[in-house]
């Protein structure tokens, strides 16, 4: 029970940390006043995630970090689709930036990270382990 409660807090905690990181960036760029909405957004998102994470649904299980094998597969497929969409968006952004002679490094960075993460994923999850042929 305790472990389930802790896992339900994982996503909200990440939201708080991300919101605080965003707020810190806003403080540096625009000052304290502008950072308050950014932090508030993180807190609201964290509360929403916590409440949603308690629901008896597939999405609730994913938010609450208590997925079973089917929900894990579902999440993995959705993440894969999200990754593919991100790659396509970065590629389009790169082409537009080249055409407009704008800086391309953000798109190169995104595409580079995705390519490296894909190759690392193959290595980590065992695609390099070719089993010897047996007759």
């Amino acid at each position: 029970m305790n472990s389930a409660k802790h896992s339900r807090l994982r996503a909200p905690a990440i939201m708080i940390i991300a919101g605080t990181g965003l707020a810190a960036a806003v403080v540096v760029g625009q000052g304290w006043k502008a950072a308050v909405p950014a932090e508030a957004l993180g807190v609201v998102a964290a509360i929403g995630y916590y409440l949603w994470g308690g629901r008896d649904s597939d999405f609730g299980a994913m938010i609450g970090s208590r997925v079973d094998e089917r929900q894990s597969l579902l999440r993995m497929r959705a993440q894969s689709l999200g990754g593919l969409a991100g790659t396509i968006a970065a590629l389009i952004g790169y082409m537009v930036a080249v055409a407009l002679k704008d800086p391309v490094w953000p798109f190169v960075l995104i595409l580079g990270v995705q390519v490296i993460a894909f190759i690392a994923g193959l290595a980590i999850y065992g695609a390099h382990r070719d089993a010897p042929r047996t007759e």
Partner: protein, 68 residues
């Protein structure tokens, strides 16, 4: 993949929530398995078979089985 999960469960008067708790999966997954929308992994298939004192080949029938 066709299976006898719903049939066996209703025969025993067990709810989807009860079998989900016993198998360590969500109620939504039990629903998906019963409706044939999700084929469980081998470990889960064995857990289901054991739960009903049966065997995997009796509980599950791959309707689109491919000849070797």
């Amino acid at each position: 993949m066709q299976n006898r999960v719903r049939e066996e469960r209703t025969q025993r008067g067990i709810s989807q929530a009860e079998i989900a708790a016993a198998l360590g999966v969500s109620r939504q997954t039990v629903i998906s398995i019963e409706s044939g929308r999700y084929s469980p992994s081998l470990p889960l298939a064995f857990r289901i078979a054991r739960f009903f004192d049966s065997t995997v080949d009796k509980m599950f029938d791959p309707e689109d089985e491919v000849d070797p």
